[in-house]
Symmetry: C2
Subunit: 299 residues, 2 copies
Amino acid sequence: MSLLVVGSVALDTVYTPRGELLDGLGGSAVYFSVASSIFGPVHIVGVVGNDFPKEHIEKLKMRGVDSEGLYIADGKTFRWHGKYGEDFGDPETLLTELNVFADFSPNLPRKYRDLQFVFLGNIHPKLQLQVLEQMDSPKLIAADTMNFWIERELDSFREVMKKIDVLIINELEVRMLTGVRSIFTGAKKIQQMGPSTLIVKRGAYGSFAITGEDIFVVPAYPTDNVVDPTGAGDSFAGGFMGYIASKGEITPENLHLAMVYGSLVASFDVEGFSIRNLEKLTMDKLNERLAKFRQITDF
Amino acid sequence: MSLLVVGSVALDTVYTPRGELLDGLGGSAVYFSVASSIFGPVHIVGVVGNDFPKEHIEKLKMRGVDSEGLYIADGKTFRWHGKYGEDFGDPETLLTELNVFADFSPNLPRKYRDLQFVFLGNIHPKLQLQVLEQMDSPKLIAADTMNFWIERELDSFREVMKKIDVLIINELEVRMLTGVRSIFTGAKKIQQMGPSTLIVKRGAYGSFAITGEDIFVVPAYPTDNVVDPTGAGDSFAGGFMGYIASKGEITPENLHLAMVYGSLVASFDVEGFSIRNLEKLTMDKLNERLAKFRQITDF
């Protein structure tokens, strides 16, 4: 599988109604890569400090994550502390320490340059562009972003949008980018900014894709066993891109199943702290849940 | 089709970003009955004032709605004025005039008493009980309610819950009734209060049902042509119960398709003011949208 991800690698401290975890393995590139690894190997680009536990790198390797592009810099690893309320909605950020991530300048190992599928995790759009400049000619580029970059780095982000095939964002970001309240109208407007396919994440309600003239809608897999929602969006993206990369192309059929796999992988993620559930995930467990999902959505 | 609905019949004035309509035909029993009438005749119980336009009653009759149980009382018809914002979310209520609805005491025509399928629209739970007392032995009873009754008439509403088979409510009401934030855990808790089947409406995101140990999830049909969301919930209930009543029983398969039909009928409702789209709805148009819905949700 010819898949690259660039994004954050972090030590997360999370407080949730179901417990807490101090300095757990986290970050967008971590959730993405562990989630996508169920479909095959994935190559990570990121940076950690020299305080980053070696065992975490071993964990990633065990899952087939190539960490040659994970640089170990002098200093402390990026840290994030967050607290979730009873509804497990958007967390309150208690602390963000960029540390070595503040000076991150992605420099790709030579062997990464001809990879065919690229996921630009939620980092500064200028860094997303810097990664693309180092790639030969990838077949499919997908990207994520966040409200922070839309507000402050819109020009750079517009450049990113012109170069990507798939944009994966949430409803709030669609409205911020377009100023349009109707989510479907807004999504179509974003297509005109560059990405031919737009995937809109709707949290606990699922997601939809607009691609060309077509739309595909998928609910979230229902679970009442949410423990820690951190990384759900990146796990979705990982499941999605992992499946697409394993198939080698986006067809309508692949797109639909990729979104469903993304939704299912995310449902496993939220049922455990950090990557605990993702690192144990097997294709058998995933396909068992796929069969169940088909049963509870079939009509 | 052996279907009864009790609820409000109103003259609604609505202001939406797409226009306004003064004194349009509305009310829960109206939306429900016009929506369900696509599957067969339906019998309505309600009250209007002597200012109620005769043409509205003719419209209902044209759709196969039996209005023998619609009483014309001295006084003015129930009026509601509401305004929707750009997001077409919960409207701001500008005026509620109960008028003849304030003294409504449902008294069923004799020929209604052996009807087999009953929908108790969103009215005072004591009135919902009063209707049930007049029924012989219906095969299936479904009910709706609202936050107002949960807050102020919880004891009566608990009585209602013990007598019904299906409760159709929204996420906010699930949380109010149970104090539980997890929507699936809350839904299971409500099952223990009486209704074996709980249908939870999630607005623009669709709905899910919990029935026995099973769950069924359906997204909303995506439309960017929302004009007036008034009556969406009652149209959903009408499509749902109309289909169930036409089939004569709830099986897992019927339940799934009933929820999908409910979702589709509601999507037609919101694309027009008042009942304008519902009264023109044909089985052909509905099944055309069903085919499209299958296509955009299939995996």
